[in-house]
């Protein structure tokens, strides 16, 4: 049986903060992807970080205290 991989997205207040968080996660060799903010979440032309749903806790810990971090929500 093929298990469909599920994702969450990490939202930030601005594109600069998303870029900063992208850099932080890269430095700790984290597997993530920078993607446009899904339309059902925001109609803004923003970007966010897509992570695997099983990594939510880990990412939340890594980004605690990072300026502009809003929330991690299911995709």
């Amino acid at each position: 049986m093929i298990v469909q991989k599920t994702y969450h997205v990490v939202l930030f207040q601005s594109v600069n903060q998303t870029m900063w968080a992208d850099k932080i996660l890269r430095e700790i060799k984290f597997q993530h992807k920078l993607v446009p903010v899904p339309r059902h979440i925001s109609s803004d032309c923003g970007v966010c970080l897509r992570i695997s749903s099983d990594q939510v806790k880990e990412v939340r810990e890594a980004l605690t205290g990072v300026e502009g971090f809003i929330e991690i929500v299911p995709l």
Partner: protein, 200 residues
């Protein structure tokens, strides 16, 4: 005898122009075309002139009969349509001529390019062919952060080409990870035969 307009081999919008002239002096005409775009354009013309339109595909062309109705049906819905369109439903070529999207800030441009290719790979429609030129070729080599998206587009049957001269210039020819090496002859043909070419 029905007036015949042979529009085979004529470039758009000539078939429509010839048919329009013929309709000025004839109540019914038979237009012969050799492509679907011309067929659609002649159909639109017929509707806009209040004609009944019938067509038949034969081995040597598409035969379209336009017959004026007894009374002109003015202001029909079709009157609001463009009379003809020269773009066919053919291929869309996307040309990526730099590794970032837009001008201004390259960090932002890099983010936008990643975001763009993710969207291209995940949603429809997407271009039939993508050509990478100049520093754009850095996106199809080892280490590119959008390689996964480009490979996904390739799996979907999209054609990916990288300019050989450009790969050579940046000394990364041996690092090509998606698509195939192309030359200017092929690139020129792809661009000019496309119904639409988008340059980024």
């Amino acid at each position: 005898m029905i007036h015949r307009v042979d529009a085979r081999g004529l470039a758009c919008p000539q078939p429509v122009i010839n048919a329009t002239k013929a309709l000025e002096t004839n109540d019914s005409i038979n237009v012969i075309v050799d492509n679907v775009t011309a067929l659609e354009n002649i159909r639109r013309l017929g509707k806009s002139k209040g004609c009944t339109v019938t067509d038949e595909k034969k081995s040597d062309g598409i035969y379209i009969v336009l017959e004026k109705k007894g009374t002109h049906e003015s202001a029909s819905e079709s009157d609001h349509e463009a009379l003809f369109s020269c773009s066919s439903s053919g291929s869309i070529v996307l040309v990526i001529s730099q590794e970032v999207m837009g001008k201004g800030d390259d960090s932002l441009g890099g983010i936008l390019m990643k975001s763009f290719f993710h969207t291209l790979a995940e949603t429809d429609p997407s271009p039939d062919t993508i050509i990478f030129l100049n520093s754009g070729v850095k996106l199809v080599v080892d280490g590119s952060e959008i390689l996964e998206d480009i490979k996904n587009l390739e799996k979907k049957g999209k054609k990916i080409f990288a300019c050989g001269t450009c790969l050579d210039f940046f000394n990364i020819k041996d690092k090509l990870m998606a698509g195939s090496v192309s030359n200017m002859y092929e690139i020129k043909e792809l661009m000019l035969s496309a119904s639409s070419t988008i340059n980024l």
